[in-house]
């Protein structure tokens, strides 16, 4: 009973968190819901969207509402791992100084780390990020720095391909969700974004977000309570297994995508880690819906953002990824029955 009460209380906090973000971000309810899911599943997020849709503003609003320290870095082709860890300069006395870089500067309090345009950074940066994401720690100055509350958000520019480094499969797999942000289609919202001076200055806009709605130091605990408190029945497990198999061998489930040889399409489907992330996110989804059990709709609600970036196509089809993967995921969801 105690844990049910705890979950209910936290659900209220989660809704408050969402409504705080909605004060600053309009027309993106799905992205905000997925952000909330990622926060309560304690997973890292890859944001994808065109320029100017409000990715940075959303992240700043999230980090404000979570509380804790926020750090942001821009991915560039000459960025090296050392640039994240320390920086050197001459102080006012002309002496060389070495100070902690953006990752280390806030110490344990770092709760949100935003990596802008991650695909512009080199693979060395990707591998450092991999370690930070997987272990929430980094070694520097002969000791280990730990970031127990860290959540990494990265953003991938999908417009340009020149001078970019595609994220390796291992790095992509470590992101819980890949959230796509599109331009809002609603005319009212577009009008507001265009004409309302409120949305012209991001700093002023973020001023309305109440900081630290969620105590970030308690998030790990409540995340664990959600994962243990929300049930997943054997039927649901079987359904998830079928979805997983279908992501590996769609042709066995009679799934086909236009203009693609299904036996030659998939290089690798979702990993076991990917499936565990899917269930983590689905449990949070169920919890936010006020359920004590996961139902297929919860899986479906997070399936695309949790799985689409984990399906690896064969090279011949990779360049048509943007066109093929949504169709494939859609077909999988519409072909697998439960029960």
């Amino acid at each position: 009973m105690h844990s049910e009460q705890l979950l209910a209380d936290w659900r209220e906090k989660a809704f408050r968190f969402e409504s705080e973000i909605e004060k600053a971000i309009i027309g993106q309810p799905r992205a905000i819901r997925l952000m909330t899911i990622a926060v309560f599943a304690r997973g890292h997020v890859l944001l994808e969207g065109n320029v100017g849709v409000g990715k940075t503003t959303l992240l700043r609003a999230v980090s404000l509402a979570i509380g804790g320290e926020y750090e942001r870095i821009e991915g560039t082709i000459d960025l090296m791992p050392a640039d994240l860890i320390y920086y050197t300069y001459l102080d006012e006395n002309g002496r060389p100084r070495v100070d902690p870089g953006p990752v280390l500067k806030h110490g344990e309090g770092l709760s949100t780390f935003f990596f802008n345009e991650i695909n512009r950074a080199r693979p060395q940066i990707h591998s450092l990020l991999l370690r930070i994401m997987a272990e929430r720690s980094v070694t520097a100055f002969n000791r280990e720095f730990r970031f127990p509350y860290l959540q990494v958000f990265a953003d991938r520019n999908r417009v340009e391909k020149e001078e970019t480094f595609e994220l390796p499969a291992a790095a992509r797999d470590r992101f819980l969700l890949e959230i796509a942000m599109d331009y809002p289609s609603d005319a009212d919202i577009l009008d507001q974004l265009t004409f309302d001076p409120r949305y012209h200055d991001a700093n002023r806009l973020l001023g309305v977000v109440t900081p630290a709605v969620l105590p970030y130091r308690e998030l790990d605990e409540i995340a664990a309570a959600i994962q243990s408190g929300i049930q997943a029945s054997p039927t649901l497990r079987a359904y998830t297994r079928d979805l997983w198999r279908a992501s590996h061998e769609p042709e066995r489930f009679g799934i086909s995508v236009a203009d693609a040889d299904m036996s030659e399409l998939i290089q690798a489907g979702a990993s076991p880690r990917g499936m565990s992330y899917l269930i983590r996110a689905a449990r949070v989804h169920a919890w936010l819906k006020g359920r004590d059990r996961v139902i297929p709709e919860d899986i479906q609600g997070v399936f695309y953002p949790a799985m689409a970036h984990r399906v690896f196509l064969k090279p011949a089809y990779e360049y048509r990824r943007d066109e093929l993967v949504p169709g494939l995921v859609d077909k999988i969801l519409h072909s697998i029955a439960a029960p």
Partner: protein, 327 residues
């Protein structure tokens, strides 16, 4: 006289065997077998067999056989040489098939030209002359003489009598009937017949639920729910989930009168399948058909709805009635 008689006899037997002329030293025996020397027309094939026995050391030079085009009217169609050794002799049996293309206007004497078979005997080469063979050939068209004598001109060949078609036709008809029957049966088994198509999903579900409700022991709700879900999936064309019920009713307005019952069924099914609890504790209300709320009546609250077998069957039957009248 006796000799002439014998010659005629041989001629009428249809074959003649004659010895060749002078034979060289190593040749022990030489015979030419020929068919009748008359009664040939254009295009006929004349078979001639040469049997030669030579010393074992002698070998036939096969190049000495006649060429395929002998002259303007005669061709050699085939030449088969069989070789065997017997009694210290090498025996050759040479079968020559000539074809005559001579078109005579009257009965005419012709001859297959003589030629020489060459043999090698160690270093030596010797030849064996095959004599020319004379035969008569006749025209195959009517001759003016015949008409002048008042005889009938040449008649076309009598058409062949057609064999009876009755047997094969009957066989074909019965095979076609058997094939069509087998095809129909297959179509029936696959359920492709038009009247089978109508209401097929819920008919199958009704059958399963009826069988399950008649089974003794703990009712198998899992299979019963699954059967009904399959029927809904079938009608929907893809898996139907609780969230998509609104779209389902929009696409299939015929199910609208059953909305409450279907929604209650989905709620109950989700409760049954997606709650982690021992399945055997989920026992439907087995008081009989009267125990469940009737269609249209308000359901007992959401996820707690229990569907006993009779209610499941009633839902199935109602849905079957709707599905049967679709389209």
């Amino acid at each position: 006289m006796k000799r002439t008689y014998l010659a005629f006899l041989l001629l009428f037997l249809g074959a003649a065997v004659s010895h060749g002329g002078e034979t060289p030293g190593p040749v022990r025996d030489f015979q030419v077998s020929t068919p009748r020397p008359f009664g040939y027309a254009i295009g006929d094939v004349i078979l001639q067999t040469l049997n030669v026995a030579v010393d074992r050391e002698a070998l036939l030079d096969r190049n000495s056989l006649p060429p395929s085009r002998i002259n303007r009217w005669l061709e050699l169609r085939e030449a088969n040489v069989r070789e065997s050794e017997h009694d210290g002799l090498r025996r050759y049996s040479i079968e020559l098939a000539y074809q005559s293309f001579y078109a005579p206007l009257e009965v005419k004497n012709l001859a297959i030209p003589a030629f020489k078979l060459a043999f090698t005997h160690g270093e030596d080469v010797f030849e064996l002359e095959v004599p020319a063979w004379r035969f008569t050939t006749a025209p195959i068209r009517e001759l003016s003489i015949l008409r002048e004598e008042g005889l009938e001109p040449m008649q076309p060949d009598a058409p062949p009598a057609l064999p009876s078609r009755t047997g094969p036709l009957r066989g074909l008809a019965s095979a076609a009937a058997a094939g069509a029957g087998a095809g129909l049966y297959l179509v029936y088994l696959y359920g492709y017949l038009p009247w089978q198509q109508r209401g097929r999903h819920f008919r199958a579900a009704c059958r399963s639920v009826r069988t399950l409700s008649r089974a003794s022991g703990t009712p198998d709700y899992s299979s019963a729910y699954t059967a009904i879900h399959r029927a809904f999936n079938g009608v929907n064309g893809q898996p139907l989930f609780s969230d998509h019920l609104e779209a389902f009713f929009a696409d299939h307005p015929a199910f609208e009168p059953l909305r409450e019952e279907i929604a209650a069924f989905f709620a109950s099914s989700y409760d049954f399948f997606f709650t982690e609890r021992p399945k055997d504790k989920f026992v439907g209300n087995e008081l009989g058909p009267q125990s469940g709320p009737r269609r249209g009546e308000p359901q007992r609250g959401g996820a707690q709805t229990e569907f006993p077998m009779p209610r499941l069957f009633r839902l199935c039957r109602d849905c079957y009635d709707v599905e049967r009248n679709l389209r």
